[in-house]
Symmetry: C2
Subunit: 146 residues, 2 copies
């Protein structure tokens, strides 16, 4: 029961872009190096983030990524579910028809509630709040970092 690397990397990238500010162009290479994310893998993840409308991708020489939403309008939940799919905890929560007991199952109800709480916690964590401390801007040891 854990987040995938793709999800973790997506969060790092969006947080890095949040620090840069909305509308600022940042190269994939820069994000990749500072956030310790494999560059090509980031390219795949970025495509999904673009589809979901978090970033815009600029092609060509001196291309890169631009945050299009405001950090306060993006939550941890949004980013994670964008790349890993909905957090379900148990399949019967989103597909009650997958288990014939779901209608009268107390365990089912626990899962529904646990999922609601978890998603709520992650939904309340906006990237504006997450920026309070500097994070992922110096994942690599850049002692000469400005």
């Amino acid at each position: 029961m854990r987040l995938t690397m793709a999800g973790e990397y997506a969060v790092r990238a969006i947080l890095y872009l949040s620090h840069k500010g909305q509308g600022v162009l940042t190269s994939r290479k820069e994000i990749s190096e500072h956030c310790d994310v494999p560059s090509q893998f980031l390219a795949k993840i970025a495509q999904q983030l673009a589809k979901s409308g978090f970033i815009e991708i600029l092609q060509g020489k001196s291309g890169g990524y631009i945050l299009v939403k405001q950090p306060q309008d993006i939550s941890l939940l949004d980013v994670i579910e964008s790349v890993t799919g909905e957090i379900t905890l148990n399949q019967c929560v989103v597909r009650p028809e997958s288990c014939k007991m779901s209608g009268e199952c107390t365990v089912h109800e626990i899962w529904v509630e646990a999922r609601r709480k978890l998603r709520s916690t992650l939904k309340q964590a906006t990237f504006e709040k997450l920026m309070e401390k500097k994070v992922c801007t110096t994942i690599k040891d850049n002692s000469d970092n400005v």
Copy 2:
């Protein structure tokens, strides 16, 4: 981010045994059929449940499983983590050394908190509480069930 089938099956089995009551011997076949769990797979899961001290396994003809703990002393969390390992949500939560930012990462703190809440919810759900409705005793349509 979801429970494995092994985890789900373990919960069904323990709940079934809870309905039978502590100390009552039940064959693997019976649990397997009523809870819709592959019999051989249940055998593997049961071994782990026995190691963790939830059940006792009786071998030989007319062998089976016996719940050794009281339902009120077993939580959903206990059973799930017994077969799937600790719920971590993000690896940095249990292994802060896996990411050098963990010490000053706001995202890390969200994960720690989210995990604490999730585990708490599952810890509070004891099998005594879960027995309130009849569950998993009739997963298969046994209209002639006593």
